[in-house]
Amino acid sequence: MAIRLKKKHQPNAMFQIAPMIDVVFLLLIYFMVGTTIHKQEADIRFTLPGVAPTEEAIDFPDEQIIEIRADGQVVVNDSVYDASSSGRLVQLTAMLTRFRQASEASRSSAAVTLAPDPAVPHQRIVRVMDACAAAGITQVNFALGDDE
């Protein structure tokens, strides 16, 4: 009996790996859940019309002006491409892809200028920029115009 008690009070010099694994897994799961809940932000790029003076001759790229009406309709050269409710702009993407291929065939670069109505929500503009990116057009610009 006395020997047993003595053994009980001896400090355990062994390194306990099981509780450490418990804690590690807990931390792992905590951070996994934390990162999935926190949605990552992604980028979509464009350039603004510059006012900087240029000395060199500029290659004028082929340019299309995409109009976005207040109700969300997308209009290029007076023809409507996708209904105002459609999420993915399939017709616009197809048209822009043909436009880019035609520009590449004539060895110039395809550029797009967006001219949204002032009342267009941001989501709709991003959808149109998606269509440009899907068609492979990297030069996207905004017509800032004047306040009416």
Binding site: L48, P121, H122, D147
Partner: protein, 122 residues
């Protein structure tokens, strides 16, 4: 062994906190638009973040900015680092006229390289 693991975890947690604090500038919560073609960036350097909330409030970094002073502050940022890219975080419901006002201030301040923040979908 055990003290070493303690230290390793302490360092791990420390660096995780620091890296999340480094991105705290983008902390103003907005409902970003969904996008299918956007990419999650690897390079987060040289960014000036402008946030447009649904109620029309504008933030430069984490601080509230009025449209009048925005241009001046952007110009100073660009002078300090000409490679600065603008990172525009606009709420999905913000109307283009509000974004256009900010974009025009940016163009006047000399920032032409602009990035819209979105959430990936699909």
């Amino acid at each position: 062994m055990a003290p070493m693991i303690d230290m390793v975890f302490l360092l791990l947690v420390f660096f995780m906190c620091v890296s999340s604090l480094a991105q705290a500038e983008r902390a103003v919560p907005v409902e970003l638009p969904a996008s299918t073609e956007s990419k999650v960036p690897e390079d987060l350097a040289d960014r000036a973040t402008i946030t447009l909330c649904a109620d029309g409030a504008i933030f430069l970094g984490a601080a509230r900015a009025e449209p009048g002073e925005l241009g001046e502050r952007l110009r100073r940022t660009l002078e300090a680092d000409p490679r600065t890219r603008l990172h525009v975080r606009a709420d999905a419901t913000v109307r283009f006229e509000d974004i256009r006002r900010v974009l025009r201030i940016c163009a006047e301040a000399g920032a032409y390289d602009v990035i819209y923040a979105t959430h990936q979908e699909g």
